[in-house]
């Protein structure tokens, strides 16, 4: 589905990604874990076309999308749920969702947006209750649901999630991750970037560990969960409990 080879990118002279490679197969959840400033978000934004590719290639469904505009990349079927949700605050929940389907209004007029709206409401009933409320008045968890719902409205082949758990209560994180898992079970492909490594690895099929712009480790979730370095650095276990 997605194949990234030797990707370099950054902001101006500041190079954040220094040769990242990864691949995502159809129907799996792949997670990228890493600390602050490791380049996780930069990676997703580069794939989404918000940051230009300096070197390397990004193949989406076999087609190079490096250097394309975000609009084209979304239309090709690759949607990003951005860090910090980025809800349209001054617009109603329903309008937020409809705008998510923007590319479909353009390409096929027959697209049944209404039934997708129902599907999103079915997934997050809370959004239906708040249908006419302004996006900016929702709680953090509801905004995250809305951001995911908005991305789904584009019917993406690949959905990228950037720190969906940020600033949310554990119970909400659990609910949202549960829905992400259900999406995978329904055949969707998901690339998940997280600081909450434990929660991410619990639902993911495979994972990568990124440090200062380079992939340092990759493996199945099982392998990463049991890896000593990962446990120490990202799962909050100290040397003692690992050696025991």
């Amino acid at each position: 589905m997605l194949k990234i080879r030797n990707l370099h990118s950054g902001y101006g002279n500041l190079r954040i990604l220094k040769g990242v490679s990864l691949h995502v197969n159809p129907g799996e959840i792949v997670t990228i874990i890493g600390g602050n400033g490791s380049g996780k978000s930069t990676l997703l934004q580069t794939v989404a076309g918000m940051i230009p590719v300096e070197e390397g290639e990004v193949l989406f469904k076999g087609r190079s999308i490096g250097g394309e505009t975000p609009e084209k990349i979304v239309a090709a079927g690759c949607s990003l749920v951005p860090e910090g949700r980025m809800i349209f605050n001054a617009m109603s929940v329903r309008e937020n969702l409809i705008l998510g389907a923007y590319t479909r209004f353009r390409s096929d007029r027959s697209g049944d947006v209404a039934s997708d709206l129902e599907a999103v409401y079915g997934m997050f009933p809370r959004l239906r209750e708040r249908e006419n409320q302004l996006g900016g008045t929702l709680s953090g968890g509801e905004q995250q649901m809305l951001a995911i719902g908005r991305a789904l409205m584009a019917r993406p082949k690949l959905m990228m999630l950037d720190e969906p758990s940020m600033g949310l209560a554990p119970i909400i994180v659990k609910l949202i991750f549960e829905e992400v898992r259900k999406l995978r079970d329904a055949g969707n492909t998901i690339l998940l970037v997280e600081q909450n490594a434990r929660a991410a690895l619990r639902i993911a099929d495979r994972g990568y560990v990124i440090e200062t712009g380079q992939m340092v480790l990759e493996g199945t979730s099982e392998e990463l969960l049991n890896n000593n370095d990962v446990q120490r650095a990202y799962l909050g276990k100290d040397y003692k409990s690992i050696s025991e």
Binding site: P70, I98, Y102, R150, A151
Partner: protein, 296 residues
């Protein structure tokens, strides 16, 4: 002050106020999609009025106005295509300076095309001396045209921004431009559309007011200043605020004549602009907490 006099002032205030409100709404449309103030907005009014005046001897008035609106919208698109799009670093300050320069260029071109003569469109219905008696106050039918067209523009924009995909997309750009791009919205095109829309609205307003205020190559400047004051008073980017602000300034101007010399009339808008900037920079309806919940 007699009742008739009061009503007369009231009507003239509301008329001028609604003209200012339309100019302010033109500012708001572009401000909301780009975050800049287009200081060439007044020139769009002048261009619309002038083009319609030049066409009116050859085609029926409604057609002349329609063509003028379309031509001005095209000018708006050209401005965006040739200048705004080309800016290497489109910072707010850069774009503001560019629009000021643009207003000077358009004015000079208009001076060459149409010389400095004062012209005007014919009255849409009746003529200079026709007047309608409303409860003892006399108004020109053109005033009703101004009020009616203003109302239609406001309603049209309300529907456009609330219910059409393009309108919603423009609001999305205003709300969060990054998220709009991530939804697949071509934000560059939205800027072009906003320039065309505000140019078209400006041109229409320029035509409707032409019989009352007259049109000259530099008539846009003073209207733009008042429209800007109104936009700030109502809260930048807020259409309801623009209407309230417009009518407030229009009424204050009208009633100022009874207590101040006529010459001070034009100072009212500027004084209010300064007072608002000192005391409440976010405007009447622009609540500080609601800056994030920006709404048209």
């Amino acid at each position: 002050m007699s009742f008739e006099q009061l009503l007369q002032y009231l009507l003239s205030g509301v008329t001028n106020g609604s003209i200012y409100a339309i100019v302010a709404i033109g500012f708001n449309i572009i401000y909301n999609t780009t975050g800049i103030i287009n200081f060439a907005q007044g020139e769009f009014l002048m261009l619309g009025g002038m083009t319609a005046i030049s066409l009116s001897p050859y085609v029926p008035l409604p057609l002349a106005i329609l063509i003028a609106v379309i031509i001005t919208a095209m000018v708006g698109a050209v401005v965006d295509f040739l200048i705004i799009r080309r800016l290497k670093k489109p910072t707010v300050l850069n774009m503001v300076i560019v629009t000021i320069g643009l207003s000077i260029i358009i004015r000079e071109i208009a001076l060459h095309l149409w010389d400095e003569k004062v012209r005007s469109l014919p009255y849409f219905t009746g003529n200079e001396v026709t007047s309608i008696n409303i409860l003892g106050a006399y108004i020109s039918p053109q005033v009703l045209w101004v009020l009616g067209v203003s109302a239609v523009i406001v309603i049209f924009l309300g529907v456009f921004f609330k219910f059409t995909l393009t309108g919603r997309s423009m609001r999305a750009c205003a709300s969060n431009i990054t998220a709009a791009r991530l939804c697949g919205i071509n934000t560059r095109n939205m800027v072009t559309i906003s320039f065309m829309l505000s140019a078209a609205i400006g041109a229409l307003a320029g035509c409707v007011i032409s019989p009352i205020t007259q049109t000259q190559y530099d008539c846009g400047t003073s209207l733009a200043i008042k429209g800007f004051a109104v936009a700030i008073l109502g809260g930048l980017g807020n259409s309801t605020g623009a209407i309230i602000g417009g009518i407030t300034i229009g009424l204050l101007e009208a009633f100022s004549i009874s207590v101040l010399p006529l010459a001070y009339k034009d100072a009212i808008a500027i004084s209010i602009l300064l007072i608002i900037l000192f005391l409440r920079p976010s405007g009447l309806l622009g609540k500080k907490e609601a800056v994030e919940l920006k709404e048209f």
